[in-house]
Point group: C2
Chain length 486, copies 2
């Protein structure tokens, strides 16, 4: 058996040249992105060509593959890399995050465990994140998972475990079918759809979600929560978690976390905060008071691929008590060594997954590059931009805000001066405006819905966003709006 002429071995020897090429292609993409169309629609013929590409019998050349990706895939990203993408709450990738990810992929390490470099970097990053969010450091930890859904699933798995255990059930062995008290999850009626999907995955059923009504600022009402729990307890049910929102997806609303924490502490119910988007708002002095009680939660979801500019994907879960987490997941009994140390635990014991990507390098690098001051500057700037947009919309006589501005989210609609049409027509106008903006390539701003009214929704999330973007956006909206309604 002679050493085979393996294409991968060839590439390893030719790696320097290939990597230099790819570096240049990535650079060009990032350099030219701001000048291009914001939301790029892949042409139908190209879709067909990509879909129909046959699996080659003999491998393609490395350069040919790089060219294929450069010409046919890279030009058609999501709009979220562009500074004038105001719709979806994913940040653009920090350039240093892209580069750190290249090194992570080269290392090819996993996040299950073992004493490799990534595990210790994760240990460092884990502390940084808990410090940033003023989360207690003792016996706590941070998990890096794929995003909000994965973090919420992990948190609710442990909440379910704790509630069942306290009620005397061995849920890991016997499952939910052996539990006769109905397990319930409480969350704002504004909660992200991932909560429902997680609750369904856990076998609790969507019907086990108690939707907490919100006040006129879209915050879940603590008084209602307390009543609902009391009523359910009297009926013999078993509350297993309360999910509070720290920056709802739709309006950026922050639930009354301190009151929620009081309710949960009094009744020993798990408090999970879904701050996938909004938790970093704690760095803005204006929101610090509302978000300081994150420290009282049992678990907090927060996505570095949102406000922290980490390349997709990266969700983080702050875990208050890692002993309970281990009890809920690990197959190694608590009295046996599970590998790792107190400040660099092996994540395998704290989730259902074994091998998964090491996200510590890209996340650590992005945070290190910004530092506490740089991250704070971003958060404060985005919040200010949202306020400014809100003020200018209110000053105008052809817009109305549909929700209070919260964090970096603004929900509003265009309403022509002296409007006399129907609400349905007004809804249609928002959709038409949104579509026109996308079509012309000037920005990307999908519609949303507030109290049954269709709205435009802007969320600032790009490190190059400035006041000029607001000028540009308002001019755009007024010009198209006037043209459409005249």
């Amino acid at each position: 058996m002679t050493p085979p002429a393996n294409p991968l071995a060839e590439d390893r020897r030719d790696f320097n040249r290939l990597a230099q090429r790819v570096a240049g292609i990535a650079e060009q993409h990032l350099r030219t992105l701001p000048d291009g169309v914001v939301d790029r629609v892949m042409p139908e013929t190209l879709r067909r060509e990509v879909l129909d590409t046959p699996l080659p019998a003999q491998g393609m050349g490395a350069d040919q593959i790089i060219n294929f990706l450069r010409d046919k895939i890279l030009p058609w990203p999501l709009p979220t890399g562009h500074a004038r993408s105001y719709g979806w709450i994913n940040s653009p990738p920090a350039p240093i995050g892209i580069l750190a990810e290249t090194l992570a992929t080269t290392m090819n390490t996993t996040s299950d465990g073992y004493d490799h470099g990534g595990i210790f970097l994760l240990g460092c990053l884990s502390r940084w994140l808990r410090e940033l969010f003023e989360f207690p450091l003792d016996n706590s930890m941070t998990l890096l998972l794929s995003g909000g859904s994965a973090c919420n699933l992990n948190a609710l798995t442990v909440a379910r475990h704790k509630a069942a255990t306290q009620a005397g059930y061995d849920i890991r062995r016997d499952g939910l079918q052996a539990i006769d008290r109905r397990m319930l999850v409480y969350s704002s009626q504004e909660a992200h759809s991932s909560i429902q999907k997680c609750v369904e995955t856990l076998g609790l059923g969507a019907g086990s979600i108690r939707a907490i009504p919100t006040d006129d600022q879209f915050r879940a009402r603590a008084d209602m929560l307390a009543d609902m729990i009391e009523q359910d307890l009297r009926a013999g049910h078993l509350p297993c978690a309360v999910v509070a929102l720290a920056g709802s997806t739709n309006t950026g609303a922050i639930d009354p976390l301190d009151e929620f924490a009081n309710i949960c502490e009094q009744r020993d119910i798990w408090l999970h905060v879904d701050g996938a988007y909004g938790a970093p708002g704690i760095l803005d002095p204006r929101y610090h008071g509302q978000l300081r009680p994150l420290a009282r939660a049992d678990t907090v979801t927060f996505n570095p691929h949102k406000w922290l500019m980490t390349p997709v994907d990266c969700g983080a879960l702050l875990v208050k008590n890692k002993s309970i987490h281990r009890e809920a997941f690990s197959l190694v009994p608590a009295y046996l060594e599970a590998g790792g140390t107190d400040d660099a635990p092996w994540p395998y014991h704290y989730s259902f997954q074994l091998t998964y990507a090491d996200r510590s390098l890209k996340t650590w690098a992005t945070l290190a590059r910004l530092g506490r001051d740089g991250l704070t500057e971003l958060v404060v700037r985005f919040d200010k931009l949202a306020d400014l947009l809100g003020e200018r919309l209110e000053q105008s006589d052809c817009f109305e805000l549909l929700a209070p501005v919260s964090l970096s989210v603004v929900c509003f609609r265009y309403r022509p001066r002296d409007y006399s049409g129907t609400e349905d027509e007004l809804d249609e106008l928002q959709s038409a405006l949104s579509a026109q903006i996308t079509r012309d390539g000037e920005a990307h701003m999908p519609t949303s819905e507030i109290n049954g009214k269709r709205c435009l929704r802007a969320c600032f999330m790009h490190y190059e966003n400035t006041e000029q973007d607001i000028d540009h956006l308002l001019t755009l909206l007024e010009t198209y709006g006037d043209a459409m309604s005249s």
Copy 2:
């Protein structure tokens, strides 16, 4: 508000220089890896230094961050990148996969949906994988998730949904607590721990797993499976899935898939095949017959980050009937458009996750680079190397095989000539041998256990593995073994 001197904006302008640097660092890592120690233990002082690095107030420089990762993290990967890492079944990263991942991170797209380039590339790759595994193409699909655990969880979620629905329950709404027939999962007693973790996450409880006894070749016994199911049905229980192994983690054993498929088809029970490691064995004519029935499964887990050389992480799930999958997960009713097309469906509707990484570029690039022939060559070569090692161990008078060689896995132990010690001492000798090999940096081969006997376990999984590795390994084992037992 003047445009801020943002460090991320600076890096975007300086990206070419930074990326060229990182390319050089990655190249050096890959070039020098084969000459270094296989399993590198990060020194205690460096661990401490990394863990204690403070979160900087002002951001670090981009070059400083790159240097930090280069000097303190990159030198300490897992052993799996090295050709003489025989223990853990993760492949080394294909160089073209590393480069494609850099482009994917630059694009920053997600795998939830929308008509971006990655979704159509995934559509193409999805077909390639189904073709490779001879899986039916009509109404089927492929999901790319983080690994075996995530794929198994996804598959079992749908299996649970289908069984409950057929039995007349609305599990998405009412959950498991409304189902009075005990739901059961059948799997080989050799199944990977992820099956238990998934079953627990789903709320079924580990006690709902029926462990199927294995034969003397470590294959789950179909006759026993049929009996167990019949008995459970008579008791009124509700079987929800059978998990068959296509290449068990420990011995590479392949369960009798055709017989399993017969049993499941007759009773309309979901057949999930966990082929995380072994499914690509179908490309080796010697294993084609055993693995051809993959096509009869409802779902098949197979990890591109194992035999397909894709950088961590990437697990793939082949899905037979995507309509049932959508029914189990989607929040958009079946009669409404859910985005995507038949050959490029939006993955969001087929899993519990929303935003997660786009793994299509790195996986597509690796497969394109190898082509069908290149991938087949790897599979056949690894299987041959395992056979060869097995033969030479049997010819020697100081080794014994503890399981039949299957696919690229060999389980054996060193047993000194005319050995007269105890079994316990023999166990200890294997551990000592494994530790000595690691310590000297010559290879990495952790121990495992077969029928209560500790063994050494070699799995070939590196694109540069050749017969020379076998010579090297045998010399190593004999030298250390003789020294230790004399």
